[in-house]
Subunit: 685 residues, 2 copies
């Protein structure tokens, strides 16, 4: 796989524009980090004043800088960046990092300014990172173009972030607890290089074993999903997206001006991408260290090894919340535990060694548990006590896990010596957590990844019997909300089962239509602005004769109005299949209980469209409507595959006809064999 | 209010039984803490060997100890505790702390052992804490009977815990970040003094401003709720309960042998008690420090003041999740901010001072925001940067809030100097958090408490028209599942509206009953083991004539079987009203959508029974069924007060007739006026 950011991490020479000898300036920090964090290529500070910085000659202009130079770090005020970028282009530098803020995050004017940068870049074939970023680093090259005070150690985590502060905060924490990074990419406003480029780069990087991404905006959500899919085919991806609630959206908008996607669309994108979404900065690092240091478990059966019952009980509750459970330890395993644990140890699960275990007891007990075939993973928990040093326990836990591929996470809480213990654990590839609930979250992330790896989401299968020509003809010249009859025709052309129907302008015409299709029929009043026909007494069902049809028409339909006559579908479960277009992630399909229930229950599932049948089945299974379709109280199961088919067809319809902004089959009546779209609402933009 | 633990915190003298001069022994730790943590009364180590410990004379036996001595701390092995307690009784000591483990947590034998302790205590009028605990402390007396390595500073938090490790871990953390405690009570197995006693004690203690409780088991959940209600009338209560999931329950059972309540029952108990339930140890302390240091906000309008956009966006998302939102800052406020903030500051909300604020900017901006009438609280967020020391920012935030009663929480993340910053913030009564999401959680806890204070749950009102004598007569001698007819009679006696019904053994009898009550009627087959009658074709609705009733009887009801004839209720929304008995919290009522939906939707609400009408309204409002009753798509609202009435009646029925183990009105058909219990299932134990 090609690394689109290869040169950023392996330049043959770096120029720093706006170089300053003043140690309080960012540009000094950049030069300082390039020099002291191990970059072996030539470094060229550039400043018209000339002079010397950290022993390096300062070049008065970029034209004076000798070859080779592949990368420019531009640390100039916003107003000077465009000219500097142009200078890079003229000098033949094709890669740049733009540190300055004061662009798109300020509003329309700033966005124009960014567009100017993009034009210059296009003209000279430049790729650039930023503006409004803190730079990039690779601990293995090594190269550090940031002005951060600290350089993280080498390690398995690749971090990409729209926020520089999130990079800085994460590096600070990582240094304290001895967690290392492979690469850090601060994207800033991503005016050129974006999240998808960064994911492709980290996917290609052999030192990156897990990717943690902090996301604010994704102008092209589909591009992100495609890159994430490529990445998750090789390694795990954890994503935190800010702006998923009304307040968060507002915070993001004022920050980087990025458009924040609806929460449902983002979660659907994560499912398709095989990414693990998290809700907080703490969860981002908690999941990342678990996935960086341990392999996913083969199953959900966990053991808690502890010296304290209370925290173990909290940990057990949280294992359960993440779909894991306490393993049933065999009599053999329990006997072996009794041999190696302190007297009085409770060998059930949690394995509670009570108040007095030594570090050796942790090693011995862990070895027994990791050998046990009924155990898929271990949460080792130690509450500091006077007689056993926490550092010794950390080393003991680390050593015991060296030869096992099963996941082990360790919670050592409170008090002094925790930092040293955390560093020792991470040095042994055991993730450390301060509380049992966070340790359980780490195991939960591994379990999520295990299931993602087992069942990657396939590409959407094509559907047969979609009459694209007829759909295009039906949509031709239309706009706004289509009539029910038009909606029904589009659904039929899409390959959905639609009861025969026709539009009548008189009672006699309605009766004639009914005679032609056979009874019973439904009569629906057609009038502009009637979205929910049942609101206004606009539907009569179960009409069984021509007279009944005439009578209903006369009673319900006013002069100048018309009526839809539709053959009644067989009885069945009423569900809704819908789709809309998210501004970032494109078309999404929706499924839930039909009729009024969709509003009161809010129990609906979303997926990106088009979708593979596997995702359609999954979204049905996770709703109440799905449980109803599966058959309750001895009722026969309904035709779930017919719903799967409807979801897939609607998904392709949205994909292939971008002029459709919304479609709703509500209800889709699902029988024991087949499903009937009896009311189709289509909106054209 | 009386403090049931007064003497434990104010003894006129303390004896330590099992005193040892060996510094690795727990008893040495107890004496050490009594001596060095400031207890001013006499301390009497007791050990048959005599000698001296830490300069104190060791008494060979308790009889030698001089007066006054009110409290004994027994640090002897489990096997010697009973004899020692008896010795205390004979010596006239009426209060004891039992440290030893090896009792009820080990199983049946240990439980008998605890019962023996209770008998001795009853005989001598002794109250004791433990066994299997780490003791109690009060930082204001001061007295510390624990063997913990550290003594927390004075502060507003009272902590009570079934787990000694949770006490220890919390004290360790609190010492590091400078958070103080008023009292800590480690309850252990609570064989005598229990959670309710501890809550009453902390309620009475003037130094305790918030109570944090870690709970494993509550043998008498109602007692807990009553004590918690007394406490929350005065101060906030945060509770973490372990054992709320299958795995957690197992962990608790193996730990203290306590019976863990179902999650629903626990949450219903918290609502009644006005307590704030949390899910993790981290949330327990995060909520406790917010409630300890700040007053609840007057409204949900929050401001985020920050030097970094990314973490602010994450914080904004989490504010939203806790029911808070970003305040709209007035033009005046924004103008004042522009005067005092660094150039370029974004004065919307979040207020983003970008990369360069000094500590003074935080003080000035906070003062503006705390003065603004449109602001109910502030999340101050600072990501460490090279030029501004974190300690200065902490002091600046602390000082700015000194004169304001609005809540302010502070997130300073990552890097060095955090401990000093946290201590400075706590010294100024500003809670410190490491991440924006946890700071938002702190504000969320304050907002929860604001709403609890505004609307305390009243006592359940009595209901009229319950014929208790008739109910008792109907229940007399019954057991198991009652017949639908018996169920209907109990419901009617309870004051619920039940359609007329009767049981028929023949088609003619059924027809005669139907003629008497008027049409339409429903015919329901009555046969043992038919729980869901609709499963087996056992119900025919809408019979409109005697012939139709005869025909349906003949077709459906087999020889030797009977049928219930019931007048059909008017059309309406079908809901379920049910109740069951939780082993810890007693009767609970349930509400949700009726019929098959209760199973597929799992959208039900629970409350403790009997319940006040306010809680009944609240539980209806939080379900999909409630939204349906309120009227959707222009449908008329249904009679919600009739459902409220049914919930209250069923609640009182459960309370007053403990022989009823379960009752279900499914469905209760709710019309525009009135609600009909058409199918009543009652189970007698």
């Amino acid at each position: 796989m090609n690394d689109p950011l290869h040169v950023f991490f392996h330049p043959r020479g770096v120029a720093v524009l706006g170089a300053s000898a003043n140690p309080t300036k960012l540009s000094y920090g950049v030069i300082h980090n390039l020099v002291t964090h191990g970059y072996l290529g030539p470094i060229y500070p550039v400043n018209p004043k000339g002079g010397e910085i950290l022993g390096l000659k300062v070049y008065p202009s970029l034209t004076d800088v000798p070859d080779p130079v592949d990368l420019a770090v531009i640390v100039l005020p916003a107003g000077q960046v465009a000219a500097a970028l142009e200078e890079c282009g003229r000098r033949g530098i094709r890669h740049a990092v733009l540190i300055a803020s004061g662009f798109g995050e300020l509003g329309a004017e700033g966005k124009e300014h960014e567009e100017q940068l993009r034009q210059i870049a296009r003209q000279y074939g430049i790729r650039f990172i930023g503006p409004n970023c803190v730079g990039v680093l690779d601990t293995y090259t090594p190269i550090d173009t940031t002005f951060s005070r600290t350089m993280p150690g080498q390690g398995p985590i690749g971090l990409v972030s729209h926020s520089g502060a999130v990079c800085g905060g994460t590096m600070d924490w990582a240094n304290v607890v001895g967690v290392g990074f492979s690469r850090i990419v601060s994207l800033g406003n991503q005016a050129d290089i974006d999240m998808a480029d960064a994911l492709d780069s980290l996917s290609a990087d052999p030192h990156t074993r897990v990717v943690a991404a902090y996301i604010e905006g994704l102008p092209d959500g589909r591009r992100f999903v495609e890159a994430a899919r490529r990445l998750t085919a090789r390694k795990p991806l954890v994503v935190l997206k800010a702006g998923r609630t009304p307040s968060g959206t507002r915070a993001v908008a004022s920050h980087t001006g990025a458009l924040a996607g609806a929460d449902q669309a983002f979660l659907a994108a994560c499912r398709r991408a095989g990414a693990i979404p998290v809700d907080s900065l703490e969860e981002l690092v908690d999941a990342a260290i678990a996935l960086a240091y341990r392999r996913p478990p083969a199953g959900p059966r966990m053991v808690i090894l502890t010296n304290a019952g209370g925290p173990a009980a909290v940990g057990a509750d949280h294992l359960d919340r993440h779909g894991l459970r306490l393993a049933d330890l065999s009599p053999q395993t329990q006997a072996r535990l009794r041999e190696v644990c302190p007297p009085g140890t409770m060998t059930g699960n949690p394995v509670d060694m009570l108040g007095g275990p030594q570090a050796d007891h942790y090693t011995a007990a862990l070895r027994v548990l990791l050998d046990a075939p009924e155990v898929d993973g271990v949460l080792a928990l130690f509450v500091p006590q006077a007689i056993t040093p926490v550092y010794d326990v950390a080393v003991a836990v680390g050593r015991a896990t060296e030869t096992s591929e099963k996941p082990v996470v360790c919670c050592i809480s409170g008090g002094g010596g925790i930092r040293a213990a955390a560093r020792a654990l991470h040095a042994h590839s055991v993730p450390h957590y301060l509380t049992p609930e966070r340790a359980a979250f780490g195991l939960g992330a591994l379990w999520k990844y295990a299931r993602i790896r087992e069942r990657p989401v396939p590409d959407p299968e094509p559907v047969e019997g979609m009459d694209r020509g007829r759909i295009a003809a039906l949509l031709e010249g239309k706009s706004g909300v289509l009539s029910p009859q038009e909606g029904a025709e589009i659904a039929a052309a899409c390959g959905l089962t639609v009861p025969p129907s026709g539009v009548a302008v008189s009672a006699d015409e309605a009766a004639a239509l009914a005679e032609g299709m056979g009874y019973p029929v439904v009569l629906k009043r057609v009038a502009p602005g009637l979205t929910h026909k049942s609101d206004a007494g606009g539907v009569v069902v179960g009409l069984k004769s021509a007279d009944a049809v005439r009578e209903a028409f006369a009673r319900m339909v006013r002069a100048e109005e018309r009526a839809l006559v539709q053959k009644m579908a067989p009885a069945g479960v009423e569900v809704v299949v819908g789709a809309y277009r998210d501004p970032q992630f494109g078309p999404l399909v929706m499924f839930g209980l039909g009729g009024v229930y969709v509003e009161v229950l809010r129990d609906v599932a979303f997926r990106m469209a088009p979708l593979p049948r596997a995702e359609a089945r999954e979204m049905i299974a996770e709703t109440a409507a799905g449980r109803l379709l599966a058959g309750v109280r001895g009722q026969a199961a309904r035709d779930i595959e017919a719903v799967v088919d409807a979801l897939c067809r609607v998904g392709w319809l949205m994909e292939e006809f971008p002029q459709i902004s919304e479609i709703d089959l509500n209800p889709l009546i699902v029988g024991e064999r087949g499903a009937w779209a009896v009311d189709v609402r289509v909106v054209i933009r």
